[in-house]
Subunit: 261 residues, 2 copies
Amino acid sequence: MTEDKNPIQVAGRLFGALEYLAEHGESGLMEISEHLGLNKSTTHRIVSSLQYMGYVRQSRESGRYELTFRIVDLSSQVMNRMDIIGIVRPFLRKLMEQTGETVHFVKREGAEIVYIDKVEAYQNSIRMVSHIGSRMPFYRSAVGKAMAANMTEQEVRDLWEASEIIRVTPSTIVDYEEFCRALGQVRANGYALDNEENETGVRCIGASLMISSDASEKPGTEYAFSISVPISRMDEERVRELSGYVLATKTAVEEAFHSSR
Amino acid sequence: MTEDKNPIQVAGRLFGALEYLAEHGESGLMEISEHLGLNKSTTHRIVSSLQYMGYVRQSRESGRYELTFRIVDLSSQVMNRMDIIGIVRPFLRKLMEQTGETVHFVKREGAEIVYIDKVEAYQNSIRMVSHIGSRMPFYRSAVGKAMAANMTEQEVRDLWEASEIIRVTPSTIVDYEEFCRALGQVRANGYALDNEENETGVRCIGASLMISSDASEKPGTEYAFSISVPISRMDEERVRELSGYVLATKTAVEEAFHSSR
DNA sequence: CTTATCGTTCCACTATGTGGAACAGGATAT
DNA sequence: ATATCCTGTTCCACATAGTGGAACGATAAG
């Protein structure tokens, strides 16, 4: 683990400011300056540069800075390139309608998974774009386990070691042996479970998708989906009922995908 | 119009590479290098820096570069901060259900408008995030005219002069006098029309929203919404019918917003 | 009125980014 | 199999481009 440096110093500072503004919203110069550990003057130049390029704007009277929608535009371009979302979405929507629960669609990115789509259950009025783009480790999500179950022992080991294992709930799996045993269960069932391992009060059922957009990735380790259900609505019997829908969705998507190639 | 320079040279290059990758997807180093007009070596350092920060990843075998979802994550954070979307969404959804047509929600940003939300008509299976974040000039959109109608003559003039007026369809308004006359119509009707002025075959009905999240902005010039309808489904009679729903939505949103403050 | 705080500008210094050149690995052509 | 062309990658001397201290102006707070 050699601690490489950023090949361009200012780059780290520019994106540091960008990320700070994304997280905290409208902010003062000193606030950003302090957070980056930089001189007021240096920070000002950095923010001015972002403003010059149209990523940041300054409130006329308060003098505070905030992000424009330029970054949202870039994000949209990236999302529009993901044709797979449009293909899979109708199936996920159907799953949501069958179960009445929220459905997530994720993609592997290194040792993490990224939410790339979401079909919200009707009763919740949260908007769809909410979590999209956010990341999560493999080891404590149903989708992660579903994908890991298709990997070789070596690949699983690498993944485990690349992750920072943190116990975020009492049920989080923090032992490698136990994780491997859980993967065995996944292989036997065809679907993966997350029993409040990531968030207390939420159980998930996930399945991998044997599809690949890129020949370099091994099928079954690139995309996965899951339904998230509050514990109150998810006893053992409902797990059995819902897992049926999940497995049906898995095969439907895989068939549709392969016939369209 | 003084041609200022970017206070940080590399910043322009970093974001130039980022934008290129967003637009073109997976690209080779030489391709980016040529587009930026930079030395191979310089480009390599720039892309490596983006990779170091997690915004870019390199395909293991092809050696080509592409964006990660990091940028989508930032975008999500920005969108989640826009509480207004969650407040307005239910009304726009209702409007879509009443009319069966696609509804857009936009925000002013300088001399342009930005799409910040969209409720797609059921028959279309395009996904929601599609255009979000993309920009459009004021002068040739229903939403832009709806907002401009609430501005002073001076403000309208400034807006017109800040825009690059381009005739994109035979109906595009490219004359300032004519634009002002159109605004008069908007004030009389309470809603704005776009008769294929931006895209041939598409008519829009838009209305401004007298709400403001920021005291610095004048109400009625910050947010607006519209419905977009193919010309085949939009004769004069249907305009009258749909404009009723649009106006009803406008007042409903404004009431809900003011009572929630 | 005084004091504190924030955003902005200036400028001398040198750390930092630059790009030519040389290298390494594949793919394609000969 | 060998040569020729592409890639992407590393190295390094040079000077350009970014740095941050200090001083300024404007606004808000005491």
